[in-house]
């Protein structure tokens, strides 16, 4: 009995030592080579595929600089940057003045690529691309228009025969930049939406079902007769979803694609503030798609470590020039030239 306990305690001790040894052995192998510079970044999940490609590519060109990006969501990225645990952050929406006030340091916004959001639907017997206006989308998502054969829908799509089917609204259940862009657009178009619901990464939806992620929304729409939801451009392109055209500021019905999204950014570029914090939904321009946005890198305006500062500046320069060519291959709309030139100038603000 006693022998047994002592054996057990020895065994427990041995296991503890083994675990300790493992921890000792594991940790150095995960760290980079001693000479390499490691930059830590965290934030939005939406641009993760392109960021991860950029950081790998940049590391191949500059083996001494390694950028480690955790796609934990914009909220997490902003908090980590506030706490100073990362060198830079990433967010799908520009920070508000209040949020910037919470920072100890000044933070610069650098738009990297563009995303867009579009309505997708599943109506019995309707295979055409439908036309929508912002007003109509707001009324559907407010729960004011509840049937597909409502005159407001039929008037915009005269050649389509609509069934008298109930509309089932589907939205994102997880907090997301996609929801922010969608609600930002609806807030701009409809004062009722703005006062009743507003814009955010999650909102208090008046009606509808929540699906987790683009795949959750697309899955629910596909399965539910009469459903309408909204998904990200990249997701729609890669999964060959059909989606509707939306009327833009100049009155044209535009289908979202990489060109019409870049055109929206281009339309806003003249009126863009110096810090790039701008919403580009409902942008002017004949070919501009109205529901799109920048995604941003958040860079501290002051970086004390000279080596790090040089690396960050050099990466930004590369990302804005050579890096942009990688965007369309991954279905991200690239920045228009005007914005790119202004950003290249803004790099010098990093001190």
């Amino acid at each position: 009995m006693k022998l047994k306990t002592s054996i057990t305690s020895i065994a427990v001790g041995a296991v503890l030592i083994a675990v300790g040894l493992c921890a000792l052995v594991e940790s150095p192998s995960a760290a980079p080579a001693p000479s390499a510079l490691l930059l830590n970044a965290a934030g939005a999940t939406f641009p993760y595929p392109i960021y991860s490609k950029w950081f790998t590519e940049y590391n191949r060109l500059h083996p001494d600089i390694q950028i480690n990006y955790q796609s934990i969501g914009s909220g997490g990225g902003i908090r980590q940057l506030q706490a100073g645990t990362v060198d830079f952050g990433a967010s799908d929406m520009p920070l508000t003045d209040k949020m910037l006030g919470d920072f100890k340091v000044r933070v610069l916004h650098f738009p990297t690529v563009l995303g867009a959001v579009m309505p997708t639907y599943n109506i019995e017997g309707v295979n055409q691309e439908l036309n929508f206006t912002g007003e109509l989308l707001a009324n559907i998502f407010l729960g004011k228009i509840t049937k597909w054969n409502d005159p407001a829908i039929v008037d915009l799509n005269k050649d389509v025969h609509f069934p008298a089917q109930d509309i089932v609204v589907v939205h994102r259940s997880d907090g997301s930049g996609t929801t922010f862009v969608w609600t930002d657009y609806l807030s701009k178009i409809s004062t009722e939406w703005d006062t009743k619901v507003g814009k955010n990464t999650s909102v208090n939806w008046p009606v509808g079902l929540g699906g987790k992620g683009n795949e959750g929304v697309a899955g629910l729409v596909k399965q539910t007769p009469g459903a309408i939801g909204y998904v990200e451009l990249i997701y729609a392109i890669q999964n060959h979803l059909s989606y509707g055209r939306v009327k833009n500021q100049s009155g044209d019905f535009i289908k979202a694609d990489l060109e019409s999204v870049t055109a929206a950014a281009s339309g806003v570029s003249k009126s863009m503030p110096a810090d790039f914090r701008v919403s580009i939904t409902n942008a002017p321009g004949k070919t501009a798609y109205p529901i799109c946005s920048f995604t941003y890198l958040l860079i501290p305006a002051q970086i004390d470590d000279a080596v790090k500062k040089h690396a960050v500046k050099d990466f930004l320069h590369w990302m804005l020039t050579a890096g942009q060519n990688d965007a369309e291959g991954l279905s991200y709309a690239k920045l228009p030239k005007e914005v790119m030139t202004r950003e290249l100038k803004a790099i010098s603000q990093i001190k």
Binding site: V168, D174, N204, G210
Partner: protein
Amino acid sequence: MANATVKADRARFSRRLRQFVRQLRHGDEVAHLITLLAAASIIVVTVMLVYQLYVNSSEPRHKFGFGFFLGKTWNPVSGDFGALPFIYGTVVSSALALLLAVPLGVGAAIFLSELAPARISNYLTFVIELLAAIPSVIYGLLGIFILVPVLRTVVMPFLQHTLGFLPLFQGPIYGVSMLAGGVVLAIMIVPFIISVSREVLLAVPVEQREAALGLGATKWESTWQVVVPFARAGIMASIFLALARALGETMAVTMVIGNDPKISVSLFAPAYSIAAVIANEFTEATGNLYLQALIELGLVLFLLTIVINGLARLAIIATTQKGTQTQ
């Protein structure tokens, strides 16, 4: 001379023996200490957890007070947060899951331990234990692609047609709903109930069965009136284990429950659970109040689990008869 060395050797030997025994006793002490530390660490972790949840939710606690428990709105834009729809969703979906899973699980456990041939019982138990190891996201995917369409096209119209006079089965049919959440949870927790209950039933002494049969009971009478009551506490324990899993389940629930924080009597309406909203909104929650409201929801889930487990323990104590074995 030689004798003296032998004596000295013997003395040395017995001294060593005594020392060894003392060390063994020491070993006892060491084991005692290590196991004590293991037990204490659980309490320390729990206390730290609650402390962190409490401290990090100060803003909404001060702003809403107890109103947080009763608030029906969850509006991240205006900063108005209430937990009631989530508490409701969590409790009702878990209760629904238990309602479906307990008869099924206990029935299966009785069959496997009492009635099935040993070989079949062993094979089936192996399969059931495999079920318990499937990640919950898989259950969620199966739920959304297979269960929800079946519910929407077959089960829900049938229920509405036959039992539609009950408010439980009224309203539009979307598929994703409180009912779907409850069914997926039930499927997930059945393996726990079966495998623990079966072990408990098998542990009932053979003499109990023999005595019952000797008194002229049939096989079923002996099982239902002697073996099952004897194992009742253990079966209850398996149900609480399952309940704990149901209360905290996140991925599978969020994929099928519809994620709409509204309170509706109808099981066909979408709902939302505490764990699901935390997982959904935590990553993109900007602003302290919003983030801390989510953390406070974590605290609410913790309290809810304590209350429900406490009530369950009371139920056990109240119903436990003499002679019942506690597992």
